[in-house]
């Protein structure tokens, strides 16, 4: 799983790099526009430590935001599965709000909360929250009649059991959507840092952009890709462990 993810990422990264080099040498572009391989390598050696710490910083926020959004999506999903008005209201609100681009709301968050950790965390959580919420609401609202019938007819059903049955029955879908939203959490954090934060790899990319230093951006992208792949591998491993342990449904 690990080597497949890393291998896939490296393949895409180096294909991208090769295309850049092809453009550079075929159009005879200067090192200022697209740096040469030597310069990229030198930048990598010079900035690896600094950028690696920045990526870890970003990842920590992304993971925190991811966990936060999973918790909120679970709670809202549990309420959204209800057949009374509050459930319908939550479902309709979720479908409508998720259509609104969070990046457009991000400046308001920075104005209100400043450029610290809370803004980055909030934006990261919000970006991966809505896809999670829609899946959670869908999964938790869908009755599993073949299992629930017994508990309904013997009057043993309660909300905890209902949620447990539905989550357990859809454990494959839940794991898939959680793994999928991890990338969004990373994207959300980097976007937040890029817009206005004062730390993290998104912030470093913004500085590199001001300096028009493409080699720094390429190094940052490399580290982001490797670290995100590792996080996804960890989540996939966790998912397959859960499926193996509980997924014999």
């Amino acid at each position: 799983m690990l080597h497949r993810r890393i291998y896939q990422f490296l393949m895409i990264y180096f294909i991208g790099l090769a295309v850049l080099m092809l453009v550079k040498y075929s159009l005879n572009l200067s090192d200022y526009t697209i740096p040469g391989v030597n310069e990229i390598w030198n930048t990598y050696r010079r900035y690896f430590g600094l950028y690696f710490i920045a990526v870890l910083n970003t990842m920590a926020v992304a993971i925190l935001g991811h966990v936060l959004s999973i918790c909120i999506a679970t709670v809202v999903g549990i309420i959204g599965r209800l057949t009374v008005w509050i459930g319908s209201f939550i479902r309709v609100a979720a479908y409508n709000i998720q259509a609104y681009p969070i990046v457009a709301v991000a400046p308001i968050i920075f104005i209100l909360l400043g450029d610290g950790l809370s803004s980055r965390l909030l934006i990261a959580a919000m970006i991966c929250y809505f896809p999670l919420l829609l899946s959670f609401i869908g999964i938790l609202s869908e009755p599993v009649a073949e299992i629930e019938h017994f508990f309904d007819s013997t009057r043993r059903m309660n909300w905890r059991l209902q949620v447990k049955i539905r989550a357990f029955e859809n454990i494959h879908k839940l794991v898939t959507v959680i793994v999928g939203s991890a990338t969004l959490a990373m994207v959300g954090t980097i976007v937040a840092e890029f817009i206005a934060a004062n730390a993290g790899i998104g912030y470093s990319i913004r500085i590199a952009l001001y300096q028009s230093d493409l080699s720094k951006i390429l190094v940052a992208l490399f580290l982001i890709g490797v670290c995100t792949s590792l996080y996804l591998v960890f989540l996939e491993w966790l998912g397959s462990f859960i499926k193996k342990r509980f997924g014999s449904v």
Binding site: I147, F150, F246, V249
Partner: protein
């Protein structure tokens, strides 16, 4: 009278055709009875109307001494996080705990106790599902194809055990198997298409029990009656 349906009329919301038109029938005494009829005639719908899972019908359902009605069908599953034993212990009321062992042994489920539901064969799954329902408190149990995928010998053993263990309870056994219906059931409610009048006919089954004799001719006669009625 334990259960009486009077002039029941029902059609599914949005559908044109009736499922039941002036359907009347009654079950007067406890025992192992059958609800028999061709596919699509409305056996499951009738079962769900009796249990209250389906509403919006016209007519009357009268019950006496059948307040606790359970309906079980053959596609039910147990939660996957339990082994069969854990599940049975969890869901069995304290007063019925001593029946677990007896039912498990009679239904041939000893080897399944430490497995999870998904690891069982279809026949074992159906037997396990029926077992957990029999461990509940009930007055009337509707068994909708509950012994599907179970071999004939085991099926016979299970039905005879149910009749021996629960002589005062009422069972409505939904099946398409005319042999088992005529052989084991006391009263057979034959459900027919709503074009036929009456829509339900009540016949006497052979109500076979252990120690009783049953001739081939009796069985054939009973089966012929059921097939003709349907």
């Amino acid at each position: 009278m334990l259960l009486e349906l009077k002039e029941l009329n029902y059609k599914y919301p949005g559908s044109v055709g009736d499922v039941f038109r002036d359907l009347s029938c009654r079950v007067t005494e406890p025992g192992f009875h059958a609800l028999f009829g061709p596919s699509g005639v409305g056996k499951t719908t009738l079962a769900k109307i009796i249990t209250g899972e389906i509403g919006g019908f016209a007519g009357e359902i009268a019950t006496r001494g059948t307040e606790q009605v359970l309906y079980t069908f053959n596609l039910e599953r147990l939660p996957g996080w339990y082994t069969i034993q854990e599940h049975l212990e969890e869901i069995t009321p304290a007063a019925n705990k001593e029946k677990i062992k007896e039912l498990v042994e009679s239904f041939g489920l000893q080897s399944c106790l430490h497995s999870r539901f998904a690891q069982l064969s279809l026949g074992q799954q159906n037997r396990t599902n029926l077992t957990r329902y029999l461990l509940q408190d009930f007055d009337l149990m509707i068994m909708d194809e509950s012994l599907a995928n179970v071999d004939e010998l085991t099926k016979e053993k299970i039905i005879l055990k149910i009749k021996a263990l629960f002589p005062e309870r009422c069972f409505l056994y939904i099946s398409h198997n005319v042999v088992e219906v005529s052989k084991f059931c006391k009263q057979i409610l034959v459900l027919r298409s709503h074009h036929k009048n009456p829509q339900a006919i009540s016949l006497q089954g052979l109500d076979f029990r252990e120690g009783r004799d049953l001739t081939k001719m009796e069985l054939e006669q009973s089966m012929l009656e059921i097939v003709n009625a349907a």
